[in-house]
């Protein structure tokens, strides 16, 4: 059964906005999605009725808050095909990737003792990323390399932005300790070959980190089936609140890693000189947690599951094709990433010949159409493709065919306006 878009839209108050005398056409969901009322309500109900700090209190509100917080963790675990102990709450995907990078460098300094030895890095060790990564999945590894003396090695992309699997085969080798890559590119919309990459990494015992930011909102994820060691995502990109994200890690890995952030609620005992740490996930959740946001994210995941992730994915693929087909048909437009007919999510980066993406964005904004312009935090990819910037349209479950049509119509008029 296809999605009932009208019914869905009714649940997103932000979509009633008008912009520059036009109804808002929000095609910037890959940056941050709009949120359905059930998510806003879940947060508000918590804050109005159960708000308390979790895990620390014996009073009724604290017990209720703890229960809601932990059942939200179970909910996310179910959504991702993981166990609750494998779900660590973070402030977002960026925080989650930094958690990994800092925990590994703490291990490299001897923290975490023997169990953490497998995370120690030093000269000769290699961290492998791809050229199409979002900065969040690149700079933390650059810094980790700088801190430990390990070497960062990129897997390149070809002129069409496809990951060069021939290069992957060469780059991933016995020195590879970590392989980190995006499930779905936030510029190209392409879905990377997880199974092949995991197989390469497994051959050499490297840890695999999956950046699932742009896949979690669109695809049905089964992290156990994908067989990655770690995965990260951000709630705000998948209909959930800002300020919440998830680090998934295989349990035995999380339990062996030294802490990253330290403070309250992650310890068993604290002396003035030193502290003992709880097992994961508590070990990685220092301080007061974003409880209302975790509950909101669980509500978002409920919302998605009620739609059905299969249906969501189908609709998303349809929108992706509509974007790429429509854009390709417009003279002077070059679409980045997969050609029409090839798999892509509902996201398309493109170039308007002779018009800078800022001007493209401004033109569309005048029509109430919100797209993203710039390098989308993927500067190396743009440089590789010989671009300084691009424009990106990205969809969500609330995107209509009429919105795509309005967008394509707008794009079709840009070059004339700028006499390009």
């Amino acid at each position: 059964m296809p999605l009932d878009i009208d019914r869905i839209r009714a649940q997103f108050p932000a979509l009633r906005r008008r912009v520059n005398d036009h109804p808002l056409v929000y095609l910037d969901s890959a940056a941050t999605s709009q949120k359905p009322s059930v998510v806003l309500d879940a947060e508000r109900t918590f804050l109005e009725q159960h708000n308390a700090a979790v895990h620390r209190g014996a009073h009724t509100l604290a017990a209720e808050a703890t229960e809601l917080f932990e059942s939200s963790r179970e909910r996310l675990a179910r959504f991702l095909g993981a166990a609750p102990e494998e779900i660590v709450w973070t402030a977002g995907a960026t925080a989650a990737l930094n958690l990994l990078a800092y925990s590994f460098s703490n291990a490299s300094r001897g923290r975490g003792g023997e169990p953490a030895e497998r995370f120690r890095l030093g000269p000769g060790d290699e961290l492998v990323v791809t050229e199409l990564e979002h900065h969040a999945n690149l700079i933390p590894w650059q810094e980790l390399a700088a801190r430990t003396g390990a070497t960062l090695r990129p897997i390149g992309v070809d002129d069409a932005g496809r990951l060069r699997m021939d290069e992957a085969v060469e780059v991933i080798g016995e020195h590879t300790r970590v392989l980190a890559f995006a499930h779905v590119s936030n510029v190209l919309g392409a879905i990377n070959p997880v199974a092949e990459l995991v197989a390469l990494a497994r051959r050499f015992g490297a840890l695999v980190v999956l950046d699932a930011c742009q896949s979690a909102p669109h695809l049905s994820l089964d992290l156990k089936a994908l067989d990655v060691d770690f995965a990260v995502l951000s709630g705000h990109k998948m209909l959930g609140p800002l300020g919440i994200g998830v680090l998934y890690g295989r349990r035995e890995l999380l339990d062996a890693m030294p802490p990253f952030l330290t403070g309250g609620s992650m310890i068993t005992s604290v002396m003035m000189e030193r502290a003992e740490y709880l097992p994961s996930p508590a070990r990685f959740e220092a301080g007061t947690q974003p409880v209302s946001q975790a509950i909101g994210l669980a509500a978002a995941v409920d919302f998605l599951d009620e739609l059905g992730m299969e249906q969501v994915h189908e609709r998303d693929a349809e929108l992706g094709q509509a974007l790429v087909t429509g854009l390709t048909a417009i003279p002077g437009i070059r679409v980045l990433g997969p050609a029409p007919g090839e798999p892509r999510v509902g996201l398309a980066g493109f170039i308007v010949d002779g018009v800078h993406s800022h001007d493209v964005g401004q033109f569309l904004d005048e029509l109430g159409i919100a797209v993203r312009v710039g390098h989308h935090c993927a500067e190396p990819l743009h440089r590789r493709l010989g671009l300084a910037a691009s424009t990106r349209a990205s969809t969500s479950v609330y995107t209509t065919d009429a919105e795509v049509a309005a967008f394509l119509d707008g794009v079709g008029r840009i070059r004339a306006f700028f006499r390009a």
Partner: protein, 147 residues
């Protein structure tokens, strides 16, 4: 059972035990020692078991904690003295399922003795760990006794 009255949680026999603390003090010659900590509140217990011929001869303990954890340790030391390891495990299982019953299981008095007075704890989920503290230490200690 309902939460109506706090006396359903803190039954008189529980408060008695929390003061009397049967078995308090470590054994001179323990067969096994184990240590338990309640992560949510920092309460601790050290538990000694003396066993011989497949039988738990006695249990001694020290530590600090709330009335529930202290009473529970006190009751435990009454119950398990003289039990075989298997009987011990049966007690443990019954005790745990009573605590997890959310008020549906009043406990098996024949098996658990005074510890059925802890059945009220099952209506206070955050306190279940308090009641379990000594018992999880026992469970852990048992794994270190051969036979």
């Amino acid at each position: 059972m309902s939460r109506q009255d706090l006396r359903n949680l803190y039954q008189d026999v529980l408060v008695d035990h929390s003061h009397e603390r049967h078995g308090y003090g470590l054994l001179e010659d323990p067969t096994a020692e184990s240590h338990g900590i309640n992560r949510s509140c920092g309460d601790e217990i050290t538990l000694h078991i003396r066993a011989g011929d497949g039988v738990i001869e006695s249990v001694g303990w020290t530590g600090h904690g709330c009335a529930i954890s202290q009473a529970s340790a006190s009751m435990l030391s009454d119950i398990v003295a003289g039990l075989t390891r298997d009987e011990c495990t049966r007690c443990l299982d019954r005790f745990r399922s009573m605590l997890q019953s959310r008020g549906k299981d009043d406990g098996d008095e024949e098996l658990l003795g005074d510890a059925v007075a802890l059945s009220g704890v099952s209506l206070y989920p955050p306190r279940i760990n308090c009641a379990m503290l000594a018992w999880t230490a026992l469970e852990d200690g048992l794994t270190r006794i051969d036979a």
